[in-house]
C-alpha cells in the first residue's frame, strides 16, 4: 500500500466520492425503512386495538432480535457475493447443543463455548470449500445444512430434550429498568455490527472482496481468508440465535431454525443490500428485519392462513429484488464501462 502512483490516487479519490454519494443514498434508504416500520406499527391500531401501542413495538423488537442476529451473518456472506443456506440448521444445532448439554451435564456455562467451537468449525468448513475449493456457495451451504440437520436428528433420536441454560433464559426473559434485556442487547448488537461492517479494516475488506475480487486481490486483501471468515461469522451468529431461541422457548425443536432461513435473506435484501454482494449496510438490514417481523405479527393478528402468509413472504422477496433492479442496471453498466 506504500507506493501508490498518481493515477491510482485519483481513482481512489473518485471512488471515495462515489462511496460518499452511495453512503448518503444508503442512509436515506435506512431512514425510509425505519419510518415504514413506525408507520406500520402505528397503523396496526386500525386492525386491532391490541396492536399499535408501545407493547406491540416492544414485542416486535423482541421477536426481531433473533432475525437481526442471523441476518448479520447472512448479510456478511451476501456481502462477499455468497449465500448461506445452512443458517436454519446452525440455529437448530445451537439450540440442540445448548439444551441437551444442560440436560445431561447440568453445566450450562459450557454451552456457549461448545456452540462457538462447533459452529465456527462447521462454518469454517463451508467457508474453506467455497473460498479455496471453489464449490458454489449455495450448493456448499445447502449440503452443510442437510448434513448438520441430519446429525442433529441422529444425535437427538428425533426429539430434543433438556432445558435452556440459565444465562440465555435471563438474556431473553429478564428486564433492566423496565426494558427487556434482549432489546438492549440487540440494540448494542446492531450498533456493534454496524461499526464492524463499516468502520473496521475487516468490514472494509468484505466490501472490497464483494465488489471486485480481482481488484481486492491486487490491493493486497487476502480474498480467500476474508471469504472464509464471513462464513464462520455467519455460522456463529446462527448458532447464537439458536441459543437465544432456546432461552426464549426454554427448549429446542429440530425445526426451530426453518422459519429464519428465508426471512434472513429477505431482511438483507429488503434492507437494500445487493444480492450480488459488495453493497449494503447493516442498519438497513436491521430495519428490514424489524419491518418483516412487524409485518408478520400484523398478518398473524389478522388470522391469515399459513398458505397466504407464505405467499406474501415470497412476494416480498420478489418485490424487493424488483425494486433493487435499477441499482443492478447501474452496477452492470459500471462494470462494462470499467472494462473498456
Amino acid at each position: 500500500m506504500a507506493q501508490i502512483d498518481p493515477t491510482a490516487q485519483s481513482l481512489a479519490a473518485a471512488s471515495d466520492a462515489r462511496s460518499r454519494g452511495r453512503l448518503e443514498s444508503e442512509t436515506i434508504a435506512g431512514i425510509v425503512i425505519f419510518l415504514l416500520c413506525i408507520l406500520l406499527i402505528v397503523c396496526a391500531r386500525f386492525i386491532s386495538p391490541a396492536l399499535g401501542g408501545w407493547s406491540h413495538a416492544e414485542t416486535t423488537l423482541l421477536l426481531a432480535s433473533f432475525l437481526i442476529v442471523v441476518a448479520f451473518g447472512q448479510g456478511l456472506v451476501i456481502l462477499v457475493g455468497g449465500l448461506d443456506l445452512s443458517v436454519a440448521s446452525m440455529i437448530t444445532l445451537g439450540g440442540v447443543l445448548s439444551t441437551t448439554m444442560v440436560g445431561s451435564y447440568d453445566a450450562g456455562a459450557w454451552a456457549l463455548p461448545v456452540v462457538v467451537v462447533f459452529c465456527s468449525l462447521l462454518g469454517g468448513v463451508s467457508g474453506f470449500s467455497v473460498a479455496y475449493l471453489k464449490v458454489p456457495p449455495f450448493i456448499m451451504t445447502m449440503a452443510m445444512g442437510v448434513i448438520v440437520y441430519s446429525a442433529c436428528l441422529g444425535y437427538t433420536k428425533g426429539s430434543p430434550r433438556g432445558a435452556a441454560p440459565e444465562l440465555f433464559i435471563d438474556l431473553m426473559k429478564a428486564e433492566w429498568l423496565g426494558i427487556p434485556v434482549a432489546i438492549i442487547f440487540v440494540l448494542l448488537f446492531a450498533l456493534a455490527g454496524w461499526l464492524v461492517q463499516k468502520h473496521t479494516a475487516f468490514g472494509r475488506r468484505l466490501y472490497a472482496v464483494g465488489s471486485n475480487q480481482e481488484a481486492a486481490y491486487v490491493a493486497g486483501v487476502h480474498v480467500r481468508r476474508v471469504t472464509l471468515s464471513a462464513y464462520v461469522v455467519s455460522a456463529l451468529c446462527a448458532g447464537f440465535t439458536g441459543m437465544m431461541l432456546a432461552g426464549y422457548a426454554n427448549g429446542a425443536t429440530l425445526r426451530m431454525g426453518d422459519s429464519y432461513l428465508l426471512p434472513s435473506i429477505a431482511a438483507v435484501v429488503v434492507g437494500g443490500s445487493s444480492i450480488l454482494g459488495g453493497r449494503g449496510s447493516f442498519i438497513g438490514t436491521v430495519g428490514g428485519a424489524i419491518l418483516l417481523t412487524a409485518l408478520s405479527t400484523i398478518i398473524q393478528a389478522l388470522g391469515v392462513p399459513q398458505g397466504w402468509r407464505t405467499v406474501i413472504e415470497g412476494m416480498i422477496i420478489l418485490i424487493a429484488l424488483l425494486m433493487l433492479r435499477e441499482q443492478l442496471y447501474q452496477a452492470i453498466t459500471q462494470l462494462f464501462s470499467r472494462q473498456h
Binding site: M144, L153, I317
Partner: protein, 328 residues
C-alpha cells in the same frame, strides 16, 4: 474452462454420453452389483420396476434442473412446482385414461406458467436466478398450502395404477416415460436450440454476438424446466397416490445432488440431461443400499450432503487435471 467450452460443438449423442454420464453409469452398475449381492431379489422384474418407479420423479426433476444449469442459471422453483402439481392432482382427481391426460395437461400448464415467470424474471428483468427462483418457490409453496393445508386427498386410481404398472411383464411405464424424455432431449441436442443452450451457458456475450437470441433461449430453458418439474410432480403423485403440500421440499437438495454427480458443471455450458437422470437413479439406489445395509435412516441426509459436495470436488479436480494437461 477451455476444455468444456470446446466440447459443445461436437454433435449428437456421443457427447451426451462421454461427458460425465459414462462415469456415473459405471458407478451405478457397481452400486447395483453391491445391492444385488446383499439382496438376491434385486434382479427380479418387480424390484427393478419399483426402483425405476421410485427414480422417475427425481430423474425428471433433475433433467429440468440440468437444462437451467447448462444455461448457467440456478432454479430452486422445482420444490414449488412439484408441491403445487401434487396437491392439484390430489384435490382434483380425474378418472380414466382421458382424465389422466387432462390432469397431465393441467400439470404441464402449471409448470409451464411458473417456468415462464422464472424465465421472464431472469432473462428479461435480469434478476439474479437463485434469489428470484427462491422467491417464486416460496410463493408456490404458499399456493400449495392454500390449495391443501395438510397432507391428504386421493390421486385418481387410473393414474396411480397404470403409471406405476409393468407392460408385457417386463417394461415399466415410468421407464418408458423417462426414455421419452431422453428421446426428446436427443432431438433438441440436434437442433439449433440445443446448440444455443450450450452456447449461452458457456459465454452469453459471444453467443449474443453470433446472433443467438440469448434472452429467448433463457426463457425457453426455464419454461422447459418448469414442464419437466410438472412431469416430476405428476409421476410423484402417481407413486404416492396422495397429496402433500410439502411434497417438493426434499427435491431441492436431491436434484442438485443428482445434477452434480451426473457430471454437469455448475459453471454452465457443459453436461447433459442423461447424466443427471442416471445421477438421480444412483441417489435412489444408494438410499436402498443404505437401508438394506442397516444404516440408521436419520443419517440419510448426511450421506446425500456429503455425496453432493464430493461429486463437485471430484469433478473440479478432473477439470483442473484436464486443463493442466491441455495447456502444458
Amino acid at each position: 474452462m477451455t476444455v468444456t467450452t470446446a466440447q459443445p460443438m461436437a454433435p449428437g449423442w456421443k457427447r451426451a454420453l462421454s461427458d460425465g454420464a459414462m462415469i456415473i453409469t459405471i458407478v451405478y452398475l457397481l452400486l447395483y452389483a453391491i445391492y444385488a449381492s446383499s439382496e438376491p431379489s434385486a434382479l427380479s422384474v418387480f424390484s427393478i420396476s419399483s426402483l425405476i418407479n421410485n427414480t422417475a420423479p427425481l430423474a425428471l426433476a433433475a433433467a429440468g434442473a440440468t437444462l437451467v444449469i447448462i444455461c448457467r442459471g440456478f432454479d430452486l422453483s422445482v420444490a414449488g412446482v412439484v408441491s403445487v402439481t401434487n396437491v392439484v392432482m390430489a384435490v382434483m382427481p380425474l378418472e380414466g385414461p382421458w382424465g389422466a391426460l387432462g390432469s397431465l395437461a393441467i400439470c404441464l400448464a402449471i409448470g409451464g406458467f411458473i417456468g415462464l415467470i422464472n424465465g421472464f424474471l431472469v432473462a428479461y428483468l435480469k434478476l439474479q436466478s437463485i434469489a428470484s427462483t427462491l422467491g417464486v418457490m416460496i410463493v408456490c409453496q404458499g399456493v400449495a398450502l392454500v390449495i391443501l393445508d395438510a397432507p391428504g386427498g386421493w390421486v385418481a386410481e387410473w393414474v396411480s395404477y397404470e403409471l406405476t404398472d409393468v407392460l408385457f411383464g417386463f417394461l415399466p411405464v415410468s421407464g418408458l416415460i423417462l426414455l421419452g424424455v431422453v428421446g426428446l432431449w436427443l432431438l433438441v441436442l440436434r437442433s439449433n436450440l440445443g446448440l444455443a443452450i450450450y452456447a449461452v451457458g458457456a459465454d452469453e456475450t459471444s453467443a449474443g454476438l453470433s446472433g443467438i437470441a440469448t434472452r429467448r433461449v433463457r426463457l425457453l430453458v426455464y419454461v422447459g424446466a418448469g414442464l419437466l418439474y410438472a412431469c416430476a410432480g405428476y409421476m410423484l403423485s402417481a407413486q404416492t397416490a396422495t397429496g402433500n403440500p410439502n411434497a417438493g421440499t426434499p427435491f431441492i437438495i436431491l436434484t442438485f445432488a443428482a445434477v452434480a454427480i451426473g457430471g454437469t458443471s455448475f459453471a454452465g455450458g457443459s453436461g447433459g440431461l442423461i447424466g443427471s437422470m442416471i445421477g438421480a437413479a444412483t441417489l435412489m439406489l444408494l438410499q436402498k443400499v443404505l437401508f438394506s445395509t442397516g444404516v440408521a435412516s436419520f443419517y440419510t441426509g448426511m450421506f446425500q450432503g456429503l455425496i453432493l459436495v464430493l461429486a463437485i470436488l471430484f469433478r473440479g479436480s478432473i477439470v483442473a487435471l484436464a486443463t493442466r494437461r491441455g495447456s502444458g
